[in-house]
């Protein structure tokens, strides 16, 4: 029944057409971003740029009063990178410990992390905001790294435990016979074996942090450390109906994620399907 017939070919054409229709917003995004100011204002959105120009990208890059895009990108990179380092370092070692000490205490800790995944954070935003404000961490990159590490640690531990459970003990026992300390064994032997789980954590948590708007709007709006979504939000307010500049800004903000996606689409898709299913 899985043979390729004439009907299958017609069906394939139909699916391709549906996908093209699905992608029209991306076509409009690029098309409008390549237009000059008057061209973007006067011509219909689907008309090709006449002539194509990069002026909107230049305008978007040099920025607006509410924060510049290069600065937003830098801030996003620092905050996402910093949070991922904390999540991967502490999440992997915690998951490893939990799975290597079976018993009531580990079960309890595992459930603690599991509930942490489900707890919706909107409710916790206000008290955490108040505490971070009182110690001067609101509006800082360090504050955001602490916040995201706490919010996504349960997910990281959960994804790592799924992996450490199936890890055979022979490796670390052999390493211990060789006389390396426990921490050395973990860092040199175990952590490299966890690479697939590390990849999933980096993709899932990295996307959540990079794209997060709610928390970053509350903690960073008006600060010099605003991340790219907050910068784009202010940017749209400042460039009302200059859609070519807005779209150029949006394209610039998407480039880092799209590059990652192009090089590792299979890992992205598997990460989502696997991470959610488990």
């Amino acid at each position: 029944m899985h043979r390729y017939r004439r009907r299958t070919f017609v069906f394939e054409i139909a699916i391709i057409l549906i996908t093209i229709a699905f992608l029209i917003p991306f076509f409009l995004l690029i098309n409008v971003a390549l237009k000059g100011d008057t061209d973007a204002f006067l011509s219909p959105a689907i008309a090709p740029p006449n002539p194509p120009t990069g002026s909107a990208f230049l305008d978007a890059w040099t920025g607006s009063a509410t924060g510049s895009i290069p600065q937003g990108l830098l801030s996003s990179v620092i905050i996402t990178g910093g949070s991922l380092i904390v999540l991967i370092a502490f999440g992997s070692i915690a998951a490893y410990t939990i799975t290597r000490f079976p018993g009531k205490l580990s079960n309890g800790l595992y459930i603690l992390f599991l509930i942490g995944i489900i707890l919706p954070f909107q409710l916790g935003m206000v008290p955490v905001y108040v505490v971070l404000r009182s110690v001067g961490l609101v509006g800082t990159q360090l504050g955001m790294i602490i916040l995201y590490s706490g919010l996504l640690m349960p997910l990281a531990v959960f994804l790592y435990t799924g992996f450490t459970r199936s890890l055979p003990r022979e490796y670390e026992e052999a390493a211990q016979m060789d006389g390396s300390s426990r921490l050395q064994t973990f860092v040199r032997i175990i952590f490299p074996l966890l690479a697939p789980a590390t990849g999933t954590v980096a993709i899932l948590a990295g996307l959540v942090i990079w794209n997060d708007f709610f928390a970053s709007l509350i903690f960073l709006s008006g600060s010099r450390n605003a991340t790219i979504p907050v910068v784009i939000y202010g940017f749209v307010g400042a460039n009302v109906s200059a859609w070519n500049v807005i779209f150029a800004g949006i394209i610039i903000s998407m480039i880092p994620i799209l590059l990652f996606y192009m090089f590792a689409q299979r890992r992205f898709i598997q990460g989502f399907a696997g991470g959610i299913k488990s």
Partner: protein, 324 residues
């Protein structure tokens, strides 16, 4: 100190058996005497979980617990506050704007669950095995999932402008009367949000269903085909029952996600026109961080949290039922 205690315990356990055979064991070089089965089982230390636990409890648990307390106060974000019992909740259910936000939240979540799951499953079935271009199509349809919801919402905001491409298309088809102010009209605004969130997340449900379909053996479908079952019958009688766990996971996940929709609303309509697209999530933001009503905002948050908890419990219960 901890490790010393365990060291003592392990050597104590192995002690009697060993010393029965070789008296000098206790004094001999420890390591050399160990056989593979007797290696020290302590490969980790309890201290290693401390940072992860502190971060989780300090941010997640502290936040949610303290937020639940604030929900019963009249705090304005600074200065003193007093406990007001359930006043915030009474006020919430008496305020027409909040009740409307509650209905909008449920409406959006319901549309989101139904459409992403039906369309995502349809795409997954279409792109499962036969088509030659299936891998490329999957990658393209999944692409919006990885992008910022805010950026995606702005692209669509442009499409829905009164003089935007959508109305341009309708006018060129002679459907001038259909060309309305999509975002400015209270009756259409909420549908624009449905369109955008479904467009962005359809790839996610597609991928979850593809993972589920990978566990459906092709032989089963082939056997049904040999028995003369039509494509529809094969899907509804053979494939769909086997996908039940995936359906539960995907719909619970999209339900929780649907209840929290925030970025798209803020970017597309800001909750307007006349609160027609206000959701609990956007109202929480407005009351708490724009109006500084921390107590009232926390109460709204608690209502939203309860809705999400119900959805999560529903998922766990349905999954348990399957196992029985």
């Amino acid at each position: 100190m901890n490790s010393i205690a365990t060291e003592a315990r392990t050597s104590g356990a192995s002690g009697p058996a060993e010393s029965g055979r070789a008296g000098g064991d206790r004094f001999g070089p420890h390591r050399a005497r160990r056989r593979p089965g007797r290696v020290d089982r302590r490969v980790a230390s309890w201290w290693w979980v401390v940072p992860a636990v502190v971060l989780t409890v300090g941010i997640q648990y502290f936040g949610v617990a303290a937020g639940s307390v604030f929900a019963f106060t009249d705090w304005k974000g600074a200065g003193a506050f007093r406990f007001v019992g359930v006043d915030n909740f009474v006020a919430a259910f008496q305020s027409p704007a909040t009740v409307q936000a509650l209905w909008n939240t449920l409406f959006l979540a319901l549309c989101f669950v139904v459409l992403t799951n039906v369309l995502g499953l349809a795409l997954a079935v279409s792109l499962n095995r036969v088509l030659k271009t299936r891998y490329l199509m999957r990658v393209l349809i999944f692409m919006p999932v990885v992008l910022s919801p805010l950026a995606v919402a702005y692209i669509w905001k442009f499409i829905f402008q009164p003089n935007g491409p959508l109305n341009g298309l309708l006018r060129s088809l002679g459907l001038d009367s259909w060309a309305v102010a999509w975002l400015g009209d209270p009756s259409t605004a909420i549908w624009t949000i449905v369109v955008v969130v479904v467009w962005q997340n359809i790839g996610l449900t597609m991928v979850i269903y593809l993972a589920g379909l990978a566990n459906v053996p092709p032989e089963l479908e082939e056997a049904a085909a040999v028995d003369g079952a039509s494509a529809w019958a094969r899907f509804f009688r053979v494939v769909l029952p086997l996908l039940r766990p995936t359906v539960v996971i995907a719909s619970a996940l999209t339900l929780i996600q649907g209840l929290r929709i925030f970025d798209h609303v803020l970017a597309l309509t800001g909750g307007g026109p006349f609160n027609a697209t206000q959701t609990l999530a956007t109202l929480v933001y407005k009351e708490t961080f724009v109006n500084s009503e921390f107590g009232y905002g926390s109460a709204l948050s608690l209502i939203l949290t309860l809705l999400i908890t119900v959805a999560a419990i529903l998922q766990v219960t349905l999954l348990r039922q399957r196992e029985d």
